[in-house]
C-alpha cells in the first residue's frame, strides 16, 4: 500500500531526531517534512498536504493547539499530539478519541498510532479530522479558564452593530466586524473564525454563520470553508481541477473542484 505522507513537528532538535529515528523504522511512513515550530508546521501542512502530522504541543510562538486552530478543516491531516506532561490534555484527548503519545516517546506506542492512522484512512471516508481535535482543544481551554465554551452572542442588534460578529472568548465579549474576518471553517460543532491573524473558536454551524455573512463578500470554497474574497491576493491552479487561494495574511486555502465555479465568478 501507499505510504503515509508524514510531517513531524518539535521545537527541540533532539526530540525531532528521536521521532525521525523511530518513524524511519516503520514501513508505512514516509517523512515529507520536519518543522521546528508552529508557524513552519502550518506552512508545511498547506504546502505538502500530508496525511499524518506528529505535533508537539509545547512550542514557542504558535503551539500545537494554535496549529490545529489555524489549519483549514478540508486539508486537516490526521494528528498525533506529543506532550511531555499535561494531565488535562491527556484526559481531553482520551475523551475525544484524539491520538497522543507521551514523552519520552516509545517506539511501540508510535507504531500503534501509525496503525490507527492507517485504519482511519482506509475506513474514514468522511475525513473530518478537525472536529475531534477542536473538541479536545476547546475542552482543555475551558478547563484551564473554567469558562463556559465560547459562544456567539445572539441578540437583536442595533443598526450600528450590524455586520459584526460578537464572540464571547475567555470571559470577554469581542466584537469582530465582518470585514475583519479573513476566512472561516467548520469543525463539527465548532466554527473557527480567522480574523486579523487570530483564530476564534465558537460553537455554531456553518449554515447559521452563512446566513449572517453577506453572499457577495463571503464565498464557500470547500465543504467546510468560507473565505472573505476581499482578502484573496492570488490564485494558483492545481492539478485535478482544484486551486489554491493566497490571502493577505500569508495563509493559503485550498479550493475544491466542486466549488471552483463560485470563486471563478469573482476572478473573471
Amino acid at each position: 500500500m501507499q505510504k503515509l505522507r508524514t510531517v513531524i513537528v518539535d521545537d527541540e532538535p533532539l526530540a525531532l531526531d528521536l521521532l525521525r529515528a523511530v518513524l524511519i523504522e516503520i514501513s508505512d511512513i514516509e517523512i515529507v517534512g520536519e518543522c521546528a515550530n508552529g508557524k513552519e508546521a502550518v506552512e508545511a501542512a498547506m504546502r505538502l498536504q500530508p496525511e499524518l502530522l506528529f505535533l508537539d504541543i509545547q512550542m514557542p510562538g504558535m503551539n500545537g493547539f494554535d496549529v490545529i486552530r489555524s489549519l483549514q478543516t478540508d486539508i486537516m491531516p490526521m494528528v498525533v499530539f506529543i506532550t511531555a506532561f499535561d494531565q488535562y490534555a491527556v484526559d481531553a484527548f482520551d475523551l475525544h478519541a484524539v491520538d497522543y503519545v507521551l514523552k519520552p516517546i516509545d517506539s511501540e506506542r508510535i507504531a500503534r498510532s501509525v496503525d490507527r492512522a492507517v485504519d482511519r484512512l482506509k475506513n474514514d471516508i468522511d475525513r473530518s479530522f478537525k472536529s475531534p481535535l477542536i473538541g479536545a482543544i476547546e475542552e482543555i481551554s475551558e478547563r484551564a479558564s473554567k469558562e463556559e465554551p465560547a459562544t456567539e452572542v445572539e441578540s437583536n442588534l442595533p443598526d450600528g452593530m450590524k455586520r459584526k460578529l460578537l464572540v464571547r472568548d475567555s470571559g470577554v465579549v469581542k466584537v469582530i466586524p465582518f470585514d475583519d474576518i479573513d476566512w472561516v471553517d467548520a469543525a463539527g460543532d465548532y466554527m473557527c473564525v480567522h480574523a486579523v491573524g487570530e483564530t476564534h473558536v465558537i460553537r455554531s454551524t456553518l449554515r447559521d454563520l452563512m446566513s449572517k455573512l453577506d453572499d457577495n463578500q463571503f464565498v464557500r470554497i470547500h465543504r467546510s470553508t468560507i473565505v472573505n474574497v476581499e482578502r484573496v491576493v492570488s490564485v494558483t491552479p492545481l492539478q485535478k481541477g482544484g486551486s489554491l487561494l493566497h490571502l493577505t495574511q500569508g495563509e493559503s486555502l485550498k479550493v475544491s473542484r466542486n466549488y471552483r465555479d463560485s470563486i471563478r465568478k469573482f476572478f473573471n
Binding site: D11, E12, D17, P60, A84, F85
Partner: protein, 372 residues
C-alpha cells in the same frame, strides 16, 4: 460526680472541700445524736426535754471539739508516717477527754443527776470509739478526694499530651508539604520528561557519549536538589555549579536557541547563599524567555561584591514584565517563595527586585550580605 446534670450547689460542693467538711460534720454529729436519742435516751426512759437538749448539745460540742483536728491533720499531712500516727492518736485522746468532760459536766448541770463522774471510764470509752471513727472517716474522705483529683489531673494530662501530639503532627505535615512542594517545583515534570526524551534520542541516534554526559548531568542536578535542605546555606560556587548542570541540560534540549553568559568573579565564589536560591529564577528565565521564543535567547548570571554585599543579577532576553512590577507581592508564587526564603535568612537586610532591561528582557536583582 455532677458531670451529667450541672447544678450550682452540687458543683460548689464537689469543688469546695471546706463546705464538704462542714456538711459531713453536721450530718455526722447530729446523726450520732439521733442514734443516741433512739437508743440511750429512749432505753433509759429519759424523755424529759433536758435529756433531749443535752443530747443535741453534746453533738454541737462534738462539732466544736473535732474542728481543730482538721487543722492538725492538715499540718502533719506531708510529714513522716510516725508523726502523722502519733498526732492522730494524740488528737483522738485529747478530743475524747475534752468532749467527755464537757458532756459529763453539762449533763450533770442540765439534768441535776449526781455522781456521774464515777462513770467517767464508760463515757470516755464511747468518746474514744466515736473519735476513732471520726478520724478514720476523715482520712477515708480525704484519700478518696486525693484519688479523684489525681485521676482528673491524669485525664487532663492525657488530653494535653494528645493535643500536643496532634499539633506536632500538624506541624510536621506542614513542613513535609513545604518540602514536597519545593521538590515538585524543582523536579518540574516538563523538564524531567523532556530531558529523558532527549537522552532517549541520543541513545537512538547512537550518540552514546553525549547520552552518558546528559545522564550524569541530570543525576548531579537531581542529587543536588535532593541532598540540599532548603534551610541550609551553600557557597555561591556550589550553587552556580548546580545551575550550570541544569542549564547545560537545557542547552542540549534547546540547541542553539539557548545562549548562556556567566560572570562570577573568584572572590564571590566562597560567599554563602541559601541553597537552591538561583534555581527557580533561572527556571523562570527558561520558561518565559527561552521556551516561548522561536529564536531563543540568552540567560546571564552576573555576580559582584560591593562593600559588604553580594549582588546577583539574573538577566534574560524575554518579553520582560508588561507592567512595572518591582514589588514582589504582585509577582508569581515562585518569586514570592524566593522572597520568603530570603526574609527567613536575612530578615530585612536584603534586596530582591525585578527590572525590565533596556533591551526589553527581565532582570532579577538580588542583594544579600556577603558575610565577609
Amino acid at each position: 460526680m455532677s458531670d451529667s446534670i450541672y447544678h450550682p450547689f452540687l458543683d460548689a460542693l464537689y469543688r469546695n472541700t471546706t463546705v464538704q467538711f462542714w456538711l459531713l460534720q453536721i450530718v455526722g454529729w447530729f446523726g450520732l445524736s439521733l442514734i443516741s436519742f433512739l437508743s440511750l435516751t429512749l432505753w433509759y426512759d429519759h424523755q424529759g426535754a433536758e435529756y433531749v437538749a443535752h443530747n443535741i448539745l453534746q453533738s454541737a460540742l462534738g462539732v466544736l471539739v473535732s474542728w481543730p483536728l482538721r487543722s492538725l491533720f492538715h499540718f502533719f499531712w506531708n510529714d513522716k508516717l510516725i508523726f502523722r500516727i502519733s498526732s492522730a492518736l494524740a488528737g483522738i485522746i485529747g478530743c475524747s477527754l475534752i468532749w467527755t468532760i464537757l458532756r459529763i459536766s453539762t449533763y450533770m448541770s442540765m439534768t441535776g443527776e449526781q455522781g456521774v463522774w464515777s462513770d467517767f471510764g464508760g463515757w470516755l470509752f464511747g468518746s474514744i470509739l466515736i473519735f476513732v471513727c471520726w478520724v478514720a472517716f476523715y482520712h477515708l474522705v480525704k484519700y478518696y478526694q486525693l484519688l479523684q483529683s489525681k485521676h482528673q489531673a491524669l485525664l487532663v494530662l492525657v488530653a494535653d499530651s494528645q493535643r500536643e501530639q496532634l499539633k506536632l503532627l500538624q506541624a510536621e505535615t506542614i513542613a513535609h508539604e513545604a518540602q514536597l512542594k519545593m521538590l515538585r517545583y524543582q523536579l518540574n515534570p516538563h523538564f524531567l520528561f523532556n530531558t529523558l526524551n532527549a537522552i532517549s534520542a541520543l541513545v537512538k541516534v547512537k550518540e552514546s557519549s553525549k547520552a552518558h554526559q546528559m545522564i550524569v548531568r541530570l543525576s548531579k542536578f537531581l542529587r543536588y536538589s535532593l541532598d540540599n535542605d532548603p534551610i541550609h546555606k551553600v557557597s555561591l560556587r556550589q550553587e552556580i555549579d548546580a545551575v550550570t548542570q541544569y542549564l547545560n541540560i537545557e542547552r542540549t534540549r534547546f540547541g542553539k536557541r539557548l545562549r548562556l553568559h556567566f560572570d562570577v568573579p573568584v572572590q564571590c565564589e566562597s560567599i554563602d547563599v541559601p541553597s537552591l536560591i538561583l534555581q527557580p529564577l533561572v527556571e523562570n528565565a527558561i520558561k518565559y524567555a527561552i521556551a516561548p521564543a522561536v529564536e531563543g535567547g540568552q540567560v546571564s548570571i552576573l555576580a559582584k561584591l560591593e562593600g559588604n554585599y553580594l549582588f546577583l543579577d539574573i538577566t534574560d532576553t524575554g518579553p520582560g514584565l508588561s507592567v512595572p512590577k518591582t514589588t514582589i507581592s504582585s509577582a508569581g508564587i515562585g518569586l514570592k517563595n524566593t522572597d520568603q526564603r530570603l526574609r527567613e535568612f536575612y530578615n530585612d537586610d536584603y534586596e530582591f527586585r525585578l527590572d525590565n532591561t533596556q533591551e526589553g528582557g527581565l532582570c532579577v536583582r538580588l542583594k544579600v550580605p556577603s558575610g565577609i
